[in-house]
Symmetry: C2
Subunit: 370 residues, 2 copies
């Protein structure tokens, strides 16, 4: 499927959209009311191999920051997430589930601790800002909740580190995984984190000041010339192979953290209080009834998975694939699916019922895929 996207101001352009257009962007998705480039006129397989070997520049400004600041900032953040943030230090990035009172997933952002009283939640595709604002207003907390003019630009792939050391200096190499530090860009202080929505390594520059978007894009591209840099985007093959989940695809408010591999982030010893603690304690005691798994399946490249595909064992539906694509490396289709407990062991034979009417044989795989 590849129909047209009708543009309007409501689907916000980013500080990098004009650069992406100049670089030949041909397809978008929409995340957080903002354009996310998803194609540059090449097959996704080609972009996948390039990402694994070289370095790419991605416009991921749609990862909007929900800034929570003020005296009660840490209290509000802790109330929203089951993950114990009490020992987080300034400079830490934490992948955190955000849940409601039923334990249902509201978002799965990366939390950046900027100071004891200032946090960014780098949000997936739901208006986390409105949830935080509602909670703060309802509770009368002393915080401000807003969306700063901050637009992440990802530099991903094995050559990202060397490129960024060339551009910003060798201290970039010292930044640990899921840590951030600061660099100078044309006289401005910018946050850079070793993070990103791929498993090929890399960094995200949280550009503060949209007016600098084109300059940053150009500077990264210029520094990347020796490394064969190309424009890219969160690559579906790499994402699925890596078992990296997507809010709205693999999880909605219907899922709890235990189902999607985030149980390890849930504090259950009573040390911290948060929304949904009672619900999550109950889920934990009962054990998850389904969990996210990989599915490897046959039958040549599958179509785009735009709605859930049933995964069956015999006549019984045991799950539904929510993202799937052909892996040119594994030479099979790979998909992500919640799978019922009795059937989630690796190797379990299943059938996949894609919407083109085909029935494809497959089996359950651990995540990430090999």
């Amino acid at each position: 499927m590849a129909d047209g996207l009708n543009f309007s101001r409501r689907l916000r352009r980013t500080p990098y959209t004009a650069s992406a257009e100049a670089a030949g962007v041909t397809g978008f998705s929409v995340v957080n009311h903002m354009l996310l480039p998803k194609a540059y006129g090449r097959p996704v397989e080609e972009d996948y191999w390039h990402l694994r070997e070289h370095v790419q520049i991605w416009d991921v400004a749609c990862q909007r920051q929900v800034q929570i600041a003020g005296r009660d900032a840490a209290r509000l953040v802790q109330w929203m997430t089951p993950r114990d943030i009490s020992r987080a230090r300034t400079g830490d990035c934490l992948y955190v589930p955000i849940t409601d009172e039923t334990g249902g997933m509201i978002n799965d952002p990366v939390l950046l601790k900027l100071a004891d009283d200032r946090f960014w939640l780098s949000a997936a595709d739901s208006d986390l800002l409105l949830f935080a604002k509602g909670l703060a207003l309802g509770c009368g907390l002393d915080v401000t909740v807003d969306e700063p003019d901050v637009s992440p630009l990802a530099v991903q792939g094995p050559k990202a580190e060397t490129l960024l050391c060339d551009l910003f200096g060798g201290h970039v190499r010292e930044i640990g995984f899921f840590k951030f530090d600061w660099v100078d860009f044309t006289g401005t202080r910018q946050l850079i984190a070793r993070s990103g929505y791929s498993r090929q390594g890399g960094f995200e520059i949280y550009l503060n000041g949209g007016r600098l978007g084109a300059a940053l894009w150009d500077a990264v591209c210029q520094a990347g010339q020796p490394y064969g840099i190309a424009p890219g985007y969160p690559n579906l093959i790499d994402r699925i192979e890596g078992g990296i989940l997507s809010y709205g695809n693999e999880m909605t408010r219907e899922q709890n953290p235990f189902e999607i591999g985030m149980g390890k982030f849930c504090s259950l010893n009573g040390a911290v209080d948060y929304l949904g603690r009672n619900a999550l304690q109950k889920f934990s005691e009962n054990g998850a009834e389904r969990q996210i798994r990989g599915v490897l399946f046959d039958g040549g490249p599958c179509p785009t998975c735009a709605e859930p595909w049933p995964v069956n064992v015999g006549d019984r539906q045991v799950g539904q694939i929510t993202s799937a694509i052909w892996s040119p490396r594994l030479r099979r289709n790979v998909g992500l699916s919640l799978i019922d407990r009795e059937f989630w062991d690796a190797g379990q034979p299943v059938t996949v019922h894609s919407k083109d009417g085909a029935t494809r044989a497959g089996e359950i795989s651990a995540l990430p895929f090999a």
Copy 2:
């Protein structure tokens, strides 16, 4: 601009998407994480004339319902909106601003009162559900907030009433403007309102039960054959001519209700309490500094307005156009813009600076356009 949209489950299909595809949909927008058909392979002008003369079927399932139910339901709804809802009756639809504590617009839904303790907010493009949920949890209100399986299908145009009387019975004719009643569809009870996102009149069927989507689409199309029914969508020409605003385009959290013509819905006499009352009272005393207006401008059909275009008087920027299109009826371009107070009188000459580099002469117009 007409680039591709990359599909995924996260951009939810509706109960009508398959029918829209069968009818030849060629372009989409994304609203509330859901697909909104926006083109059927014909020029928008052709669809515009057809809408004015005949009847169209629109998949507007993306108008998601935020259901607020329970003992404190009315209290929560009133807290969210400056509009006094105390005299609303079951069967009423009310266009309501939703504001935060600063008076900034969070959404501009249609409120449907289903019972004294049950409301739907038919939401524009922001996660109003998360705001309502946050407020309810923060305040400890006795309500449930959820998204029911309800998917509006619009039947718009001058022949909509006759068509729907044929299909559901003559009592449809008795439904007043912005009122709703109930009809039977294949043994199910369905809500139908005289409302819609056009100024050509019509109805919206709030289909409860997505499994019935294809059957309802087909029934409407069959009943519409004698009236020349065609698939359509919220038509940008009709919308702008009618001065109908779009959340995310003409307003964001940066706007207050007085700027966008919703001051008349703000209760300021102290009779009701709501979020943002203090802020709105202050805005009201000071008078709006800018207000929404029409702009008529020259220079042949303008390009798609995907980011705000400056509106100038001489060298001074006095506003920005957020939606614009060529009107084949007025034979000029029409646009919507917030305009500074000193320049908002009808007839004020302005220049429009569209992103194609053109400078176009124009003037301010009252809304709706003639």
